[in-house]
C-alpha cells in the first residue's frame, strides 16, 4: 500500500516536474555543474597534497628521532642537626640541548620495539663544501647505510641519472641532488672533493637524484656512512634516525609515545611540514566553499521553481487533497520533485566529474619546488563523490522542503472557496 502510494506520488511528481521543464533544467544544470566542479577541485587539491605528502615521506620519512634535552641535576649536601646525619638533595637546574644521537644502536633497538615501525635508518649529517673542477658549493652531506636507508626513503625512485648499484659497490661513491649537480656542472663519473671542518676526501659521482623539493635537490647529497664519518670527523654518534611507519597518519601519536620512551625529540612529518599542510588545507577548504556556493545557487533556483509550482498549482493540490491525498502525500510529491532533480543532477555530476578529472590529469604542467611533477595530479577517491553528493543532498532537500511544506499546508477549502463564483 505504502509502495503503491509512493509510486503514485512519484508519478505525479515527475509530471509536475516536467511541466516546468526549462526552469528545472536550469536547476539541474546548476547541480550537475556544482557537483562536478566540487569533485574535480577535491581531486586536484587532494592530488597535489597527497603527492606532496608522498614526496615528504619518501625523502624525510614519517618520523625523525633526533636531538634531546638532558636534565642537568646537581646535588647539595645537607645535615640533620638532631640526628647528626648528612644527606644529599637533588637540585634541578635546567636542561641541556644535546645534538644528535650518541648511542644509535640502543636507540634503534628502542625504535624497533614499536610495533608500528616498519624500518629505521641512522643518518649522519653535516655541512660540507662540495668542489668540482670549476667551483664550490656549500652542501649537506648525509652519511647513510645504503640498504637500510633505501627502506626508509624513495631514493631509489628519485635517481634520474647514474645507478644506485654503483653506489652500493663503490665505497667512495656519492649521490648528488640534481640542482647541486647542475650548479657544479657535474656529471655521473666525475670526481668530487668534499671538504669538512678538518678533513677532505675525494669521491666519485655515481648517481644524481631529484626529489622535486628545491631545497633538498640544491643542498642534499649522500655518501656511505663510513666515508661520511671520516669527512665530518664524527665516529660514534649519528644526527638522526629516519623511521617509516605502517600507518603514517598515526605519526603524531607514535612520535609523542616514542619521545617519552626514548627520551629523544621525535618529529612527525605532520609537525615538520605543518605550514605546507595548512596551505593545502586552506586551499581545499576555499575550493570547497566556492564550489558549494555554486550548489547553493542551484538550490535557490530549484527553490524558486518549486515555489512557483506550489503557487500555480494550489488548485490542483486542493483537488488532490479533496479526493484523499494527505498532507504527507503532498509533502512527498514536492519533495520527490527535489529528489528526482537531486538524483539526476548527482549522477550526471559524477559522470561529468570523472570525464573532467581524466581530461585535467592529462594536461601537462611543470612544477618544481615542493615536489616534482610534469602534469596535473588528480586523486581519484569515491569519498569525494560521496562528499559532493552529501552537500548537494543537503542543499537540494532544503530547497525542496520549504515549498513542499508550504504545499502540504494548502487548505483545500480556502483554495476552492477562493475560486468559486
Amino acid at each position: 500500500m505504502a509502495r503503491n502510494s509512493l509510486q503514485l506520488n512519484l508519478r505525479i511528481a515527475l509530471r509536475l516536474l516536467l511541466s516546468k521543464r526549462r526552469a528545472m533544467l536550469m536547476s539541474l544544470a546548476g547541480i550537475v555543474f556544482g557537483v562536478a566542479l566540487l569533485i574535480v577541485m577535491l581531486a586536484q587539491t587532494s592530488g597535489f597534497e597527497g603527492f606532496f605528502i608522498r614526496t615528504i615521506l619518501g625523502t624525510n620519512g614519517a618520523l625523525r628521532v633526533q636531538d634531546r634535552f638532558q636534565e642537568t641535576v646537581t646535588s647539595m649536601v645537607a645535615a640533620d642537626e638532631d640526628a647528626g646525619d648528612t644527606f644529599e638533595v637533588a637540585l634541578r637546574e635546567g636542561q641541556t640541548y644535546v645534538q644528535g644521537i650518541q648511542n644509535p644502536r640502543q636507540v634503534l633497538e628502542g625504535i624497533f620495539a614499536f610495533d608500528s615501525v616498519v624500518d629505521a635508518s641512522p643518518v649522519l649529517r653535516g655541512p660540507v663544501q662540495v668542489t668540482s673542477g670549476f667551483r664550490s658549493e656549500e652542501g649537506r652531506l648525509h652519511g647513510i647505510d645504503a640498504a637500510s636507508y633505501l627502506a626508509v626513503s624513495d631514493l631509489d625512485r628519485q635517481i634520474v641519472s647514474g645507478s644506485l648499484d654503483d653506489f652500493g659497490v663503490q665505497p667512495d661513491g656519492i649521490i648528488l641532488g640534481s640542482v647541486l649537480a647542475d650548479r657544479l656542472g657535474l656529471r655521473v663519473g666525475d670526481p668530487v672533493l668534499l671538504r669538512g671542518a678538518q678533513e677532505q676526501r675525494r669521491f666519485r659521482l655515481v648517481a644524481i637524484f631529484e626529489s622535486g623539493i628545491e631545497l633538498v635537490d640544491r643542498v642534499h647529497f649522500y655518501a656511505h656512512m663510513r666515508e661520511a664519518r671520516l669527512v665530518l670527523n664524527e665516529f660514534d654518534s649519528v644526527s638522526y634516525i629516519q623511521v617509516t611507519l605502517d600507518d603514517p597518519d598515526r605519526a603524531p601519536e607514535i612520535a609523542a609515545h616514542m619521545s617519552q620512551v626514548l627520551g629523544y625529540h621525535v618529529a612527525s612529518w605532520q609537525a615538520r611540514e605543518r605550514s605546507w599542510l595548512e596551505v593545502f588545507r586552506a586551499l581545499k577548504l576555499s575550493s570547497a566553499i566556492s564550489m558549494t556556493t555554486i550548489l547553493v545557487i542551484a538550490g535557490l533556483g530549484m527553490f524558486n521553481t518549486l515555489a512557483i509550482i506550489v503557487m500555480e498549482r494550489a488548485r490542483e493540490i486542493a483537488i488532490l487533497r479533496s479526493f484523499g491525498y494527505s498532507r504527507r502525500d503532498i509533502l512527498s510529491i514536492f519533495l520527490l520533485q527535489g529528489i528526482l532533480v537531486y538524483v539526476a543532477g548527482t549522477l550526471l555530476g559524477w559522470l561529468s566529474a570523472a570525464v573532467l578529472t581524466r581530461i585535467i590529469e592529462s594536461i601537462p604542467i611543470r612544477i618544481r619546488g615542493i615536489f616534482s611533477t610534469d602534469h596535473f595530479i588528480m586523486h581519484w577517491s569515491f569519498n569525494h563523490y560521496l562528499i559532493a553528493a552529501a552537500i548537494a543532498f543537503v542543499v537540494v532537500i532544503t530547497a525542496a522542503l520549504i515549498p513542499a511544506r508550504r504545499a502540504s499546508l494548502v487548505e483545500p477549502g480556502a483554495v476552492v472557496r477562493g475560486t468559486s463564483g
Partner: protein
C-alpha cells in the same frame, strides 16, 4: 425500510465564522439538515449566504466552529486529519465550478488518481473502471486525451467521472455548471443526477440556477446562514 430512512448525512446546529477581527462574519448560523440516500438536493441562495461553506464542511474540507456532522452513525466533524482525509477519498466525491483536472494527465489518468490513491483497485482494474466511467459520461473515445485537449464541457464531465471514481456515498457539487453554456449545463446536470440515482448516491448541489434546482428531489433555500422557507 427503517434502514432506508436512515440519513446518509446528519447535521445539527452547524455554526461557522469566517475572517478575523472586525471582518469576522457568522456565515452559518445553526444549520440542521438530513441528507437521505439516493436523493439529489439543491442548495440555493444569494451569494455569500453560506452555501459553499456548508458544502466544504460536509466535504470535510473545513472545520465547523460548533455543531455536529454525522456520516451514518459516525460523527466526523471532530475526526482527526487522517480520518477526514481517508473519508474524503472513500466516501465523498467533489465536483467544483472549475474542473481542476491535472493538465499533465490524460482524462483516464485523472479519473484513476482517486482510485489508485484509495488502493482498492489494481492499476489495470482502475484503468478499466475509469474507461467505464468516461463511457458513462460520453467520453470513452477521449480517455487518452490530456485535460487541455478537451473542451470545457468535456473537462467538466471528466471531473464528474472523477467524483464518481470510488463509488462515494455522497457527491458534493459546487456550481458544477457555473462555467458551462446552457446546453452543456443541462446535459451535465442530467448526467450527474442519473448516475447518482443509478448508484444510490446522495448528491448535494450548490447552485444559482433555479432551473437546475427545480429538477432536484429537494431544494433548500439559504439566507444569511440559515435555511428559509421559499
Amino acid at each position: 425500510m427503517e434502514a432506508a430512512r436512515q440519513p446518509v448525512v446528519r447535521v445539527r446546529g452547524l455554526h461557522r465564522w469566517l475572517g478575523e477581527g472586525e471582518t469576522r462574519v457568522h456565515v452559518l448560523r445553526g444549520l440542521d439538515i438530513d441528507l437521505e440516500a439516493a436523493r439529489t438536493i439543491a442548495v440555493v441562495g444569494p451569494s455569500g449566504c453560506g452555501k459553499s461553506t456548508l458544502l466544504y464542511l460536509l466535504g470535510l474540507l473545513d472545520l465547523p466552529d460548533d455543531g455536529s456532522i454525522h456520516f451514518g452513525e459516525r460523527r466526523v466533524d471532530n475526526a482527526n486529519e487522517e480520518t477526514r482525509t481517508r473519508l474524503r477519498g472513500a466516501e465523498i466525491g467533489f465536483v467544483f465550478q472549475f474542473h481542476f483536472l491535472l493538465a499533465e494527465f490524460t482524462a483516464a489518468e485523472n479519473v484513476m488518481l482517486p482510485m489508485l490513491k484509495l488502493g482498492r483497485r489494481s492499476p489495470g482494474e482502475a484503468r478499466a473502471a475509469a474507461e467505464d466511467l468516461l463511457d458513462s459520461v460520453g467520453l470513452r473515445g477521449k480517455a487518452d486525451r490530456r485535460g487541455n485537449q478537451l473542451s470545457g464541457g468535456e473537462q467538466q464531465r471528466v471531473a464528474v467521472a472523477r467524483a464518481l471514481a470510488n463509488d462515494p456515498r455522497l457527491i458534493l457539487a459546487d456550481e458544477p455548471t457555473g462555467n458551462l453554456d446552457r446546453g452543456n449545463s443541462e446535459a451535465l446536470f442530467g448526467l450527474l443526477r442519473e448516475l447518482a440515482r443509478e448508484k444510490g448516491q446522495t448528491t448535494l448541489v450548490v447552485t444559482h440556477n433555479p432551473e437546475l434546482a427545480a429538477r432536484c428531489d429537494q431544494t433548500l433555500s439559504m439566507l444569511d446562514g440559515r435555511f428559509v422557507e421559499d
